[in-house]
Symmetry: C2
Subunit: 362 residues, 2 copies
């Protein structure tokens, strides 16, 4: 009477199984599945037949162990409520999938420290790490460097360590928005920051306030929205309740800008842009819908992601390469949420963009 074995231990066929069936060595099987390996056409065919018969598929884990390349890239993405990041994630995933990489996703808590999570990811011998919405502690950056793991910051930079990055034109965008709003005749500007220690928010603010200061304008009002819808709504409420209510708000991203629009319209009965001009940053998602029609400095998704994919692949090829900070140029997309300056609007493709008059020649 034969013992009953649970069917669950249905072991996957291995290269040796295939080799036995095909009457070749295990090495031959390995070579049959390694592009560019030296193997006779006929042998490969025999192996492929046997593999098909057994439903064999090379075990990626075992392969990674010997090749020391996992073809896995760790990706951290938080703030998925902000439409920008799902779009980034999808584009990144597709771009890297096309190059044979897979993404190990992890979602750090905005509040908590991302380090422990990142540690786990490092245990996976990832070929690289992309941080799409988290800053890297300098400790971790050091570990990655020591371990030779390329790290790319997406839409962030780090002042702690010199880590490569891809960003939009945060500084220039901030400056341009200041100039745009002033040119539109606004008197009382306000800025709603994202998370204080994020380089993105800092740079956008620095550009904004920097331009204003350089041109003799009063510093803008300021509140903090933490990149979060509810917090940004609260910030908007505070700003709009002031006796010296601002006539223009620049929110550090579109996600917060839509929150401001909702509060301004539905809680304060303001009309946009008649009573309040609103400018965002990212040019993505609902902000483009007619209901919001948000004027926003674009971070062009495709070029940014393409650059990120290229950089990551390059860093994997050549880990010794120096760090690079790539800045992807964007433009101020003019829509209906902010009063338009008398001049400077240029139509471009199917959109309207704004440039300072002095640059029109270009």
């Amino acid at each position: 009477m034969s013992e009953v074995r649970p069917a669950r231990a249905h072991r996957h066929a291995t290269a040796s199984d295939v080799a036995r069936l095909a009457g070749v060595s295990q090495s031959a099987v390995s070579r049959a599945f390694t592009p560019g390996a030296s193997i006779a056409r006929e042998t490969r065919a025999r192996v492929e037949d046997a593999a098909r018969a057994l439903g064999y598929r090379p075990n990626a884990i075992a392969r990674s162990l010997t090749t020391r390349r996992s073809r896995i890239i760790g990706v951290a993405a938080a703030y998925l409520q902000n439409h920008f990041y799902p779009d980034v994630l999808e584009a990144l995933s597709k771009g890297l999938q096309a190059r044979g990489y897979h993404l190990l996703l992890f979602t750090p808590d905005a509040a908590r420290d991302a380090d422990p999570l990142l540690q786990e990811v490092l245990a996976w011998q990832v070929d690289a790490l992309i941080l799409a919405s988290t800053t890297l502690s300098s400790a971790l950056a050091g570990q990655c460097r020591a371990a030779g793991i390329p790290v790319l910051l997406f839409n962030r930079t780090s002042r702690h360590a010199d880590v490569s990055s891809v960003t939009g034109e945060n500084l220039r965008g901030g400056r341009l928005i200041a100039e745009f709003l002033v040119a539109g005749g606004h008197q009382r500007l306000a800025f709603i920051a994202g998370i204080e220690n994020s380089s993105t928010s800092r740079d956008r603010e620095a550009g904004f306030t920097g331009w204003l200061a350089e041109h003799g304008h009063a510093p803008p009002l300021r509140d903090v929205g933490l990149y979060d819808f509810e917090s940004a709504s609260a910030a908007a409420r505070r700003l709009l309740s002031r006796p010296d209510r601002p006539d223009a708000i620049f929110a550090a991203n579109d996600h917060m800008a839509t929150a401001v629009a909702e509060v301004a319209r539905h809680e304060f009965g303001l009309r946009i842009p008649r009573d309040l001009s609103l400018v965002g940053f990212d040019d993505t998602g609902p902000a483009r819908w007619p209901s919001f029609s948000l004027t926003s400095f674009a971070q062009p998704l495709r070029p940014m992601v393409d650059a990120a994919v290229a950089m990551v692949c390059e860093m994997i090829e050549n880990p010794a390469a120096p760090t690079r900070h790539q800045v992807i140029p964007g433009e101020l997309m003019v829509r209906g949420s902010a009063r338009m300056p008398p001049e400077g609007c240029v139509s471009r493709a199917d959109a309207l963009v704004w440039r300072p008059v002095r640059d029109q020649a270009a």
Copy 2:
């Protein structure tokens, strides 16, 4: 003269390195990092010191090779433009991270077949597969079953193979919306479908038209929005251009419903709900914002994700368990986008829900 080695091959410390430094065997190191293993307190401390000194971290790939458990779960998610899915992804990720699993993300092209991608994921010996917005070909379902890999469909069911699933109350939701709209006195109903062969859209439509038919009402108009913003906009344009323009539209999800709202308001100058009632499905994202204030049948994210996490873990523990189809109850969240019936609204927590009058007693 010693040969110069490129520093890049900075090999990670291995368990043997740690063992040597700590003066123990490699097994001891392994046990020190295996919870529950038999190891003396003092030995563990020595190992931990040595590990710290060398920056050692167990290699997850090697570990998976021997344990035959990768603690990786493959997740397919497409349609990330639909706010529901990023939210799902984030919640799933957090829930599974908390249980020690990591997500290998892949984003099938909506258009193309997901099979080749899924094949790659299988090569990773994933412990399970969650399909959040893709249907599984029956071929692949068979392969997974043969390989003993649990599969869970999230917000989908499959008619081909019996694969476990977690869904909302698509059928009941569709019925309830029909009843709600009829109770609200609407005369010409319309339905905008998602992707035709998605169970989600089919079930919602079946509930909707089923209730109407059972109660002697004319079948609704119908168009297809493919779960896509642009396509849904086009569908809305076609429906709203008809001489017998519908006075109520049920869009198969909120993402499409917002598209309808945009078109109705900004292209047709209609007011919602005075000229047109609009109902969606999901109760998520921008649909909740005041600008849309969408009446929508809720798919409660948290319970759905919790159920999915629990089911996946259970399936991993016990692969022989029978397939289950878990349906998470939801409610019709009443907001401002649809004319309200004279009775049936019940306030519940901080929201308004609708139930047929006959159920009020419950």
